[in-house]
Symmetry: C2
Subunit: 220 residues, 2 copies
Amino acid sequence: MVSAMRNPSPGHDTTTGATHGRTGRPRSAAADTAILAATRDALVDLGWSKLTMSDVSARAGVAKTTLYRRWAGKNELVVDAVAELFDALELPDRGSLEADIEYVVLQFADLLRRPEARTALMAVVAESTRDEALRDRIRSAIVDRQKRLVVLGRERAQARGELPYEEDEVLTGRTTDLIFDVIAGTVVHRALVSSEPVDECWVATFTALLMHGLLGPPQA
Amino acid sequence: MVSAMRNPSPGHDTTTGATHGRTGRPRSAAADTAILAATRDALVDLGWSKLTMSDVSARAGVAKTTLYRRWAGKNELVVDAVAELFDALELPDRGSLEADIEYVVLQFADLLRRPEARTALMAVVAESTRDEALRDRIRSAIVDRQKRLVVLGRERAQARGELPYEEDEVLTGRTTDLIFDVIAGTVVHRALVSSEPVDECWVATFTALLMHGLLGPPQA
DNA sequence: CTCTTACGCTACGACCCGTAGCGTAACTCC
DNA sequence: GGAGTTACGCTACGGGTCGTAGCGTAAGAG
């Protein structure tokens, strides 16, 4: 749950348990999860453009007005629905930086094979080019949250001695951003724009390129 | 013009000059250019989701039915409209591989600053996740055509002695694809997903990473 | 001058949008 | 308990887009 409804919901979550400080009937938490699940189902069946609020409300067993009471529109709804998918990504220690990278790339590729993730991610980004608020929402709900993987992988590599420690915080942040964009961007482009398979062979080649890029300067 | 109308248009183009072998009144070439230009204008003003066929026809001074006679729908129309933008990319010889890369990255970033390119590219890719024909169209109209830049830059670098010659054709093709996805994907992700500026500072860092990635193996 | 095709225009049923209004349900505070 | 407050389901609505059909006219080819 990313909590960015148009209505109150001041604190963090909107469950039945959390009274959110107010009086009156609380929002149904079950409805939230049902709606988001219904949204993903609809994305699988219909794709982005043919997905309609009416259809989602029917699938979720909820009145259409309830959707509009919680989300401003299709865009916001879908961002929240997809953000949950990305949270499933993780990075177990595979023993080396190279293995860690290959693992996360393959995992990300698996995610992008899911039709609801493919169509929704691109569509929402497309809409965000004309909507500042939506851009911020994507950044906080997806981008910033997944950067944790890069940070974690890097720290591990430094602990292993594979990468040097960097003292400058600003530089560290920039490098993290760069690596994130390179990995996520390349995989997305390969899978969705070029429409080529992200198989182990390709991943190995890509990872090799990236490894050399990361280790290049000091060894030269 | 990418020529993939739903109707005849057998050969290549649909200009007044090219009789396209048939008798009868030929399609107006002026209408084609007017429609595609109107589509880009509408993308600037309205973005993808609010762009409507009716609006485009009005802007182009053309009947709505004429649009549907030439394009199957919004998706196909927009692909053709945007493909023309990408053809403006070029790669003058900047003297070194590094400079060539930086130049093309900055040029691509400029293109992605144009609102019609931003919104349309992502939206069309989103739709293509559920439409095989559209995927093929994107590949032939945009992806394959822009790979020429990678091929050209690589040949130049080889002529300069910056990169080794590769004999295996299959491997050459794979490397070309990889570099293309890395460059285009990373820039798109940085600009549109992460919503961070693609300035000269960032480009220099990215190019350095890529250079080390390309030169890594042999120098190690 | 005839044949063939493209064009512009109008009209159409179908669908979705986003909102308003109402009565009811659920929960808090007194 | 009741009063107050908020969420919910339902219905109905005007406004807009969709994609197509039908018709008369315009523009080249032979």
